[in-house]
């Protein structure tokens, strides 16, 4: 019953990727809209193939073969050691263990695809399709499986409780495994590809380059909600043993944290700019979903609302600081929404989570160790991998492409051929 429910929830996850793709292309320029959507489709497809063929053997599953080493009288389980190119281990439907493995592969395949769509937002309007595809393969083939193994396959982070007497690191809906890993990839892409031409003046003042279709952005938020409910529920059932009675609360918590994030961003932008900002409110909605996913199965609805409110406010300020102070051009706000809100969500597990065992201090400490692993190990690893890839295949489109738009430059035709094109859009500023 639980595993069937899990399969149904897994089938909703692609809607989260569809929602994110719509949000990313809507927040980008119209001249790169088709490129953004094709990029998302390619990222999903490549991530699925590479993860199923290679990545899953490294991600592994609880109780499966793993690489480990001993240090400080503790066994550190750091990477899965399953076979490459799985040949179908779910043929016998009565074998529950095999069915669980198949479900794990299915869930993580979609989750890897979702993580791969996140950096496309950071590189919107300038990241070439070919390196974006290779980067997706890199993410799904090694970077995502590495952290997924640590958290979801009884790796060293999940075993913190058994090895160090605190509590295991908890990430029920993938706030760290999917969102922060994708967000850190987005940070690297933003740093490496640099800002769009005309985004920053010589004195560093940013120019507003508004998204071209806010209706699609807001529709994407609704689609993402459905997908997130699927991801939160499926991973909670599969990795944390949540039953059907808990899934109802996971759905309620997801809706509450998204709503709180959106409304918080709406109120903050209304208070600061006199009118609510639709694109930042949409980012607040996604930030609420991201932050709420870590603790979705372990918090009360009130705590889910609190998590969402903090995420919504945090994102509003992070987007502004990134643009005004750090001169980082992140058109879709991926870094703030996925990395920033994701890290907050992981800490919120320790602050608000209700667990059968362990102390609050122990849980909080475990969550801090997980955050330290993401920032201290995954960020330099992801950044260096992207720097190397950029050496082989330059990320950024050439100057002509910058002004023509990615659609014409890379695909040969625009997304909206019947639209009137304003000549000044092609004049360098």
């Amino acid at each position: 019953m639980n595993l069937l429910l899990c399969l149904l929830c897994i089938m909703l996850i692609p809607l989260a990727a569809a929602g994110l793709a719509l949000i990313h292309q809507g927040l980008g320029r119209s001249r790169s809209a088709a490129h953004a959507m094709l990029g998302a489709l390619c990222a999903l497809g490549i991530a699925a193939i590479v993860f199923a063929m290679i990545g899953f053997s490294w991600a592994g599953f609880a109780g499966g073969a793993a690489h480990s080493f001993a240090a400080g009288s503790v066994r550190w389980d750091w990477l899965g050691a399953g076979q490459f190119f799985p040949n179908g281990f779910g043929a016998d439907a009565m074998d529950v263990a095999s069915y669980r493995k198949s479900l794990t592969l299915c869930l993580e395949m979609f989750a890897a695809g979702l993580a791969a769509t996140i950096p496309l937002s950071g590189g919107s309007d300038r990241w070439r399709l070919a390196p974006a595809c290779i980067a997706s393969a890199m993410l799904a083939g090694f970077l995502f499986p590495l952290f997924a193994h640590w958290v979801w396959a009884a790796g060293w982070l999940a075993q913190l409780g058994a090895n160090f007497g605190i509590s295991g690191f908890v990430d029920a809906g993938g706030a760290g495994v999917v969102q922060v890993v994708g967000g850190l990839m987005a940070v690297s892409v933003v740093w490496i590809s640099g800002p769009r031409r005309g985004k920053f003046a010589a004195d560093g003042m940013p120019a507003a380059i508004p998204g071209h279709n806010i209706v699609q952005v807001l529709f994407g938020c609704i689609l993402a909600l459905v997908g997130w409910i699927g991801l939160d529920s499926a991973s909670s059932i599969l990795f944390y043993g949540a039953g059907p009675e808990k899934v109802v609360w996971i759905v309620i918590n997801a809706m509450l944290s998204a709503s709180a994030g959106c409304l918080a961003a709406l109120v903050v932008t209304r208070a600061r700019y006199k009118k609510p900002d639709a694109s930042i409110s949409a980012n607040g909605w996604i930030a609420g979903l991201v932050a709420g996913s870590a603790a979705c199965a372990f918090v009360t609805p009130v705590a889910a609302v609190d998590t969402g409110i903090v995420a919504g406010v945090l994102v509003t300020y992070m987007i502004e600081i990134a643009e005004l102070r750090l001169q980082a051009d992140d058109p879709g706000g991926a870094v703030s929404v996925h990395a920033g809100a994701g890290l907050w969500g992981l800490i919120a597990v320790g602050l608000f989570g209700h667990f059968a065992d362990g102390t609050r201090a122990g849980h909080l400490l475990a969550q801090f160790v997980g955050v330290a692993a993401l920032l201290g190990f995954m960020l330099p690893l992801i950044y260096c991998a992207n720097l190397l890839l950029n050496r082989v295949m330059p990320y950024r489109v050439d100057n002509d492409g910058d002004w023509q738009g990615m659609d014409v430059r890379e695909l040969g035709a625009g997304a909206y051929p019947e639209f009137v094109v304003h000549a000044d859009e092609f004049v360098p500023r």
């Binding site: 240090a71 400080g72 503790v74 913190l160 160090f164 007497g165 605190i166 740093w191 640099g194 800002p195 920053f200 010589a202 750090l326 001169q327 980082a328 201090a361 122990g362 400490l365 801090f368 160790v369 955050v371 330290a372 692993a373 920032l375 201290g376 190990f377 960020l379 330099p380 950044y383 260096c384």
Partner: protein, 59 residues
């Protein structure tokens, strides 16, 4: 600067790990884990600064 930023991130991470291994008492672990996270934040700041400076040079 980028290299130093990356090394600081790794140092912070290993500081956190050594806190887990070396101190059995939770009260001792918290300050060391906090210090490790602090080093990581400095590393992130340095990486950000390095990339901002590089963008300005490219202009």
């Amino acid at each position: 600067m980028r290299l130093i930023g990356c090394l600081l991130l790794l140092s912070g991470f290993f500081l956190v790990l050594s806190a887990l291994v070396m101190f059995p008492a939770p009260l001792m672990r918290f300050p060391f884990v906090g210090a490790g996270l602090g080093v990581e934040v400095i590393g992130v700041g340095l990486l950000t600064r390095a990339n901002t400076l590089m963008q300005k040079e490219q202009k």
